[in-house]
Structure formats: structure tokens, C-alpha cells
């Protein structure tokens, strides 16, 4: 009897365990998983099927939730958290979209790690209609699983509401990957790189924005003479900074090639670029303690009135403002070119986090309209203001922290990649990056030594 009771108890425990482990297969659309938020204003329970197909038809030519999407359900995987400014603006835009169109949108806040799970989710055709990620990853890694937005974008006049550089770039990447062009995503958070500086400190020292390396060195000299440390640098951005510098001596394709195959020593321009950087470091133009641990050096720009510039992407200004709790007077100028290499002087880093629509989405037009509502007009302006970022819609106004960014983005036609090709060899990158940090640490006496150290890694 006792054994039977024990057996029954064990079976009950096992059954409970199995039920508990079994989970909820339909959990995606509900709010049961952590970090998921469902918006339930509007929309009808019985929606879906053919009705939703119809809703995504020609009826809605105008972007921005002008159509009637009653009964349409969309699932949106966001790379933000609902507590971040970007998340809050997206939430507000989605609420408005639901109110205007009658659609029901479920947002799942996946945060930055979305990149680790997206591929598997898309492969298994998980219930995702639109999602956010880096536009290069979308155009290369997820290109098979996302819809071509060309026709809808054309109908909505997207070309006039966005930066051309992101469209041409993503089409080229898709072509490289699949052999045919595809318009894969709408830019939501554009980024641009360059030298961000404090206008007030430049004024105090009486210096103008430089356009060449010689002028830049003069500016640094004057700043230093006025008690201002010229350049903040955290080791996390060492390759970005030197990559920019190198890109003024060597075309990015050549840097990528050298990153993959070596041969740094056989290109005299590499040693020349490193020599000029060694001269810069030896002149004491780096801020005290640089290259420092991220974000200590960049924070000095906001925490004191002693450091004037930083080489980074535009989000650095918002980061510094937020940390210091002040609204600094920022400016941006493109990385200076070097004499005799005028053809390499104009390019700038540009990138974007973007919104894509899955190719198996049943309501692509509704998803597209929602995406357009987020990346254009007043929601985009709100996003730019609240998150301190470049507006995705060039018609909107950049906040003060992003002064100068729109102009640089508009002028950029062939953007540089992150780290300008140094990171092209993903496998070797940490070792290459270490050499670059050591260059800033003053560990190399000559540029030739630096190039030799890089070649020693192959």
C-alpha cells in the first residue's frame, strides 16, 4: 500500500513536471514571456486569414497608418527595451497606429541580443511580421527571409523621406549575397562617424574646423597651448579611430584585403599612416590616460572642460551628454584628409539600425505602413529628440547633440564600414585590434614596426 502511494505521488510529480516544462506553444502572441508587451487596443479576436490578406491590399497606398487594418494582427520584434527612449517612442507610434487603423500589434522587446536569436526564429518561420536589427545584417544574413520593399517604398515615396546612402548600400549587399538586388529594410536609426568636437572649446582656443591632417595637427597644437587636451580615445574605439586615419591613406578595399591576407608591410602607405599617428601620440595630443577603458576617456569631454574631441559614431554625443548631465555644444567634422590623397578624403562611416518585414508576413502592407509611421514624420522627430539620434527622415530636425550629422550623411554616397576594413577578418580582428591599441599606447617606435607586427599575425 505504502509503495503504491509513493508510486502515485511520483507519477503525479512527473506529470506536473512534464506539464510545467511543456510550456505554451502559442506563447508568442500572448504576454507570458518576459520582455513581451502586447498592445490590445483595437482589432478583433476573429481576425486573420483571408480578411487580413485583403487588408494589406491596394487600399492603403499612403504610409502612416491611413488604411483600415481591422482584424490584422502584427508581431513586432524590437531590438530595444520598453524602458529606453526608442522603446517608448515605438510604443507610442504603435498605439497610434492601432488607434488609426484598427490593427492589433504585439511588440516583443528583445533588446540587443535579438541578433543572436533572429536567424533561428526566421528560419523556423516564427510568428514575426517586422523586426529591427543592423541593416547590414538584415541585407546579408537575413536576406532570404525578408520581403523586398521596393514596390511599397516607391508607392509611399520613401526615397524622399530617407537617406539614399542606406538604400544603395543595402541593395549592393543583397546583390553580393544572393546575386540580385533587394530593398530589405527601412532605416530607423541612422549613424554617421567622424570627429565630434566641443564648439565652445574650439572657440575658446580660437581654432577653426580642419579639413587636412596638417591643419588638424595645427588645431591640436593650439588646443594644447590653450590648456585643452585635444582628443579623447577609449581602447574600444581604437580601431575605429585608426581605421578612419588609415582610410585617408589607403582605400578601404585594400585595407579589407590586407586584413584578410596580410601584406601590411608591403604597402608603404600603412607605415606612413602609422608614422603620422605615432607623431600625433608623441606630441601628447591624446587626452590624459588615453587609450582608456570605455567610456572613461569620452566621458572626460562632458565631465570637464579640458578635452575637446572624440572620433566615434554620432551616438557618442548623447552618451556623453547623458553621463555628464549637461547639454554640450557639439559639432562634427569629417575625418581630415592627407595631402596627395584627395580622392580618399571625403568618405565617412555610415550605418543604421533598420526595420525589416519578413517574407512570410501575411500583411506586408500593414507592416510596411507601421514601419513608415515609425521612421518618418512626427514619430521619427520624437525618436530623434528623445533618444538624441539622427532623424531617419531628412525632413526632420536633428537635435542639438547631432549638429552637423545630417549634412555629413547627405553628402555620403559610398560609406565606410565600421573600422574601415580592419575588422574584415573577423577571426583575426582581436589581435589586429590589440596592435592598434598598442600603437596608441606608444608601443611602436616607427610605422614600419607597426606594419611588421600586423604581418606577424598571419
Amino acid at each position: 500500500m505504502k509503495k503504491k502511494i509513493v508510486s502515485l505521488l511520483l507519477v503525479a510529480m512527473m506529470a506536473t513536471g512534464l506539464v510545467a516544462c511543456g510550456g505554451n506553444n502559442g506563447g508568442n502572441k500572448t504576454n507570458e514571456s518576459s520582455g513581451t508587451q502586447t498592445n490590445e487596443t483595437g482589432g478583433e479576436e476573429e481576425a486573420g486569414g483571408d480578411e487580413t490578406e485583403e487588408a494589406g491590399g491596394d487600399e492603403t497606398e499612403e504610409a502612416g497608418g491611413s488604411g483600415d487594418y481591422s482584424g490584422v494582427e502584427l508581431t513586432y520584434w524590437s531590438m530595444w527595451a520598453n524602458t529606453e527612449p526608442q522603446g517608448k517612442v515605438i510604443q507610442a507610434a504603435v498605439d497610434k497606429f492601432q488607434e488609426e487603423t484598427g490593427a492589433k500589434v504585439t511588440i516583443e522587446w528583445k533588446n540587443r541580443d535579438v541578433k543572436d536569436i533572429l536567424n533561428s526564429a526566421l528560419e523556423s518561420k516564427e510568428n514575426i511580421d517586422l523586426f529591427e536589427d543592423d541593416y547590414k545584417r538584415i541585407a546579408q544574413n537575413y536576406v532570404k527571409y525578408v520581403a523586398d520593399l521596393s514596390e511599397m517604398a516607391e508607392a509611399a515615396g520613401y526615397a524622399d523621406k530617407s537617406y539614399a546612402v542606406f538604400q544603395t548600400q543595402q541593395k549592393a549587399w543583397a546583390q553580393e549575397k544572393t546575386g540580385s538586388e533587394k530593398f530589405t529594410s527601412l532605416a530607423e536609426q541612422p549613424q554617421v562617424g567622424g570627429i565630434f568636437y566641443r564648439k565652445d572649446l574650439f572657440e575658446k582656443a580660437g581654432v577653426e574646423v580642419p579639413t587636412t591632417w596638417t591643419e588638424f595637427m595645427e588645431v591640436c597644437k593650439t588646443l594644447k597651448e590653450n590648456g585643452i587636451q585635444p582628443l579623447a580615445l577609449d581602447s574600444a574605439y581604437a580601431s575605429f579611430a585608426f581605421g578612419y586615419h588609415l582610410s585617408r591613406y589607403v582605400p578601404e578595399e585594400t585595407i579589407s584585403e590586407m586584413s584578410k591576407e596580410g601584406g601590411w608591410s608591403s604597402n608603404a602607405d600603412v607605415a606612413a599612416a602609422a608614422d603620422s599617428m605615432i607623431e600625433f601620440v608623441n606630441a601628447g595630443y591624446l587626452a590624459d590616460g588615453a587609450p582608456d577603458e570605455y567610456p572613461n576617456s569620452q566621458n572626460k569631454i562632458g565631465m570637464s572642460d579640458e578635452v575637446a574631441m572624440v572620433i566615434c559614431a554620432n551616438y557618442v554625443t548623447t552618451e556623453v551628454n547623458n553621463t555628464a548631465g549637461v547639454e554640450l555644444e557639439w559639432g562634427l567634422f569629417n575625418y581630415p584628409g592627407v595631402e596627395g590623397k584627395d580622392d580618399l578624403a571625403a568618405s565617412a562611416y555610415a550605418g543604421a539600425n533598420s526595420i525589416a518585414i519578413t517574407d512570410y508576413c501575411e500583411n506586408k502592407q500593414a507592416a510596411f505602413d507601421l514601419a513608415m509611421m515609425i521612421v518618418t514624420g512626427e514619430n521619427d522627430q520624437q525618436m530623434a529628440n528623445d533618444a538624441g539620434q539622427i532623424p531617419a527622415d531628412p525632413a526632420n530636425q536633428a537635435p542639438a547633440s547631432q549638429n552637423g550629422t545630417v549634412e555629413v550623411l547627405k553628402a555620403t554616397t559610398a560609406p565606410l564600414a565600421w573600422n574601415m576594413g580592419i575588422g574584415e577578418n573577423a577571426d583575426l580582428y582581436p589581435k589586429l585590434d590589440e596592435c592598434v591599441i598598442q600603437l596608441f599606447e606608444g608601443k611602436f617606435a616607427t610605422g614600419a614596426d607597426f606594419a611588421k607586427a600586423l604581418d606577424g599575425l598571419y
Partner: protein
């Protein structure tokens, strides 16, 4: 009849567990091992998309300077960190079981880093101890009239990370040692004291030999901990993976998911790294079993 019924019960009870193990452990292991011989871009790609690579994935990782660096860093964490952690853990365990006052307080204080998030702990070390401008270490050196140092520079970053990690790990191994020491009967020490053995002699002749199985447990746990080392490396290099802090799991992660600014993925090579790491664990476990035998003493 009864034994047939019993067999049925045994099968009914073990089947769910066996099936779960098969599906959740054996299948991924087998798939990973097979995958390590194929060219696979995405970790969940269909097998029809795989292309046979032979041992190319293994050749790739074994010829990679970054993988060499990762293995070197892991080995240093295992050996240097292991000696430090286990020595301090044993020292504290012996002190705390010697009848000192406020034993519970000290035990809780030493264990406390284990209940604090590693993210918070690493941030504390990076910002408040190693910071060049206002960090504890440089302030201390300054007070002594010495020049401060960039503790997070390429030459010191690994050691800075190791010290911070060791600080957080000691308490866990100390508790296991305490448990092992308290298991030893007080009569043995009493008899040794009557025979004239001092505390040091007792430690080397009684405590150490009787802690052999505990050592084996701690070394095995430490080895697994080192092989799966990830978070501290990520905290000490938050934007890009850096050579000074890279470890095999971080290298695996970057290989499988891509890095900042580079979307290239190689799940096949990632699988090969996983297989190599599993073999490391098996080798360590095998050596531990051979070197430290714990079945020859009864007490």
C-alpha cells in the same frame, strides 16, 4: 508476474528521463560533432545546406592566432587563477573552522561576491578600483608618492580581469572546503593533539589527505568554470572582443554570431571549438580521476 510489473514501472519511470536526455543532450551533442566537419553558416541551418569540410574547421581554428590567444588566456586563468583561488579558499576554510570568533560573519563576507551579479562586480572593479583617475589602486599609489598605471592597458588587462575574477570566486570554493573539513571527526584532531602534533602538522598530515576528494571536486568545478568563462571577458571588453581578454567561449560566440561591424558567421568552426572544449573537460576529468584517488581512505 510481479517482476514483470516492476519492469514496467521501471520503464515507465525512466523513459521520460531517458527521452529528455536523448532529445535535449545527446541529439545536440551528436549534431554539433557532425556539424564540426561541415561548412555551415547559421547554427540552425538545415542539413541540406551543409557542405562537407573534412577537418578544415579544425585546421582553421587551430591555425588562428586568436584561438591560440584564447587558449593561452584560458590556461592562465585555469593554472594561475586556480592556484590563487584554491589556496585562498583553503586558507580561509581552515581559519574559519579553527574556532575563531565571528565565523559566520567572515564566512558570509567572503561568500558575498557570489551573490552579487558578476556584471555589478566587474563594473565595480573596472570603475572604482582600476580607473586611472579615481580608482582605488592609483589613489593608493599616489598616496605612496608613486606614479599611477593604466591597469586596463593591453599589458595589464588580462591580469586585472583575473584578479577581479579570483576575488569573486574564492567564497564558493571556500564553502566546499569548509564542508569537507567539518566532515572530518574532531576525535582525529584530538588524538593527534594528545600525541603532540601541532596545528601545522595536523593540517598537512590529517586535513590535507582527508580533503583529497574535496580537492578533486573543487578542481573539476574550477576547470568547468574556466572552460565556460565568458561574462568577465565580455565585461572587460564590452564593445569589441579584445585579445588580452579573449577566451575560447567568447571566440566561439564571435565565430557563430559575428562581431561588431562584421556579419560573417561560421557555425561549423563554432561547432569545432565546442567539440575541442568538451574534449578539454573530458581530459581534465580523466586526469583528475587518475591523479587524485579518493577511495583509499575511510574515516
Amino acid at each position: 508476474m510481479k517482476s514483470k510489473k516492476n519492469r514496467l514501472f521501471i520503464i515507465a519511470f525512466t523513459l521520460p528521463c531517458a527521452l529528455s536526455l536523448f532529445i535535449m543532450y545527446l541529439y545536440p551533442i551528436v549534431r554539433t560533432v557532425i556539424m564540426s566537419f561541415f561548412g555551415v553558416e547559421s547554427v540552425t541551418a538545415r542539413m541540406s545546406e551543409w557542405s562537407f569540410n573534412g577537418i578544415a574547421n579544425y585546421q582553421k581554428i587551430f591555425s588562428s592566432p586568436t584561438f591560440h590567444q584564447a587558449i593561452r588566456n584560458m590556461a592562465l586563468i585555469w593554472i594561475v587563477g586556480g592556484i590563487l583561488v584554491l589556496s585562498f579558499a583553503l586558507l580561509f576554510a581552515v581559519i574559519l573552522t579553527s574556532g575563531i570568533r565571528f565565523k559566520k560573519f567572515f564566512r558570509a563576507a567572503i561568500y558575498m561576491p557570489n551573490i552579487i551579479s558578476a556584471v555589478a562586480l566587474a563594473t565595480m572593479w573596472i570603475q572604482y578600483i582600476y580607473n586611472q583617475e579615481y580608482g582605488l589602486l592609483n589613489k593608493f599609489l599616489e598616496a605612496l608618492g608613486l606614479e599611477g598605471k593604466n591597469w586596463m592597458g593591453t599589458d595589464m588587462k588580462f591580469w586585472a580581469m583575473l584578479v577581479a575574477f579570483v576575488f569573486g570566486a574564492v567564497g564558493y570554493y571556500m564553502l566546499i572546503f569548509i564542508n569537507g573539513i567539518e566532515r572530518i571527526s574532531g576525535d582525529i584532531f584530538e588524538a593527534a593533539t594528545i600525541d603532540g602534533a601541532n596545528k601545522i602538522q595536523q593540517f598537512f598530515s590529517i586535513t590535507m589527505p582527508l580533503l583529497r576528494s574535496i580537492f578533486k571536486t573543487n578542481i573539476t568545478f574550477w576547470s568547468i568554470n574556466c572552460i565556460s568563462f565568458f561574462l568577465w571577458s565580455k565585461m572587460f571588453a564590452p564593445v569589441n572582443t579584445e585579445a588580452s581578454t579573449v577566451v575560447p567561449v567568447v571566440y566561439l560566440y564571435d565565430t557563430v554570431f559575428g562581431t561588431t561591424g562584421n556579419v560573417t558567421r561560421d557555425a561549423g568552426a563554432g561547432a569545432a571549438i565546442g567539440v575541442v572544449l568538451s574534449l578539454f573537460i573530458a581530459v581534465v576529468y580523466f586526469i583528475m580521476n587518475k591523479v587524485i584517488k579518493d577511495d583509499d581512505l575511510e574515516f
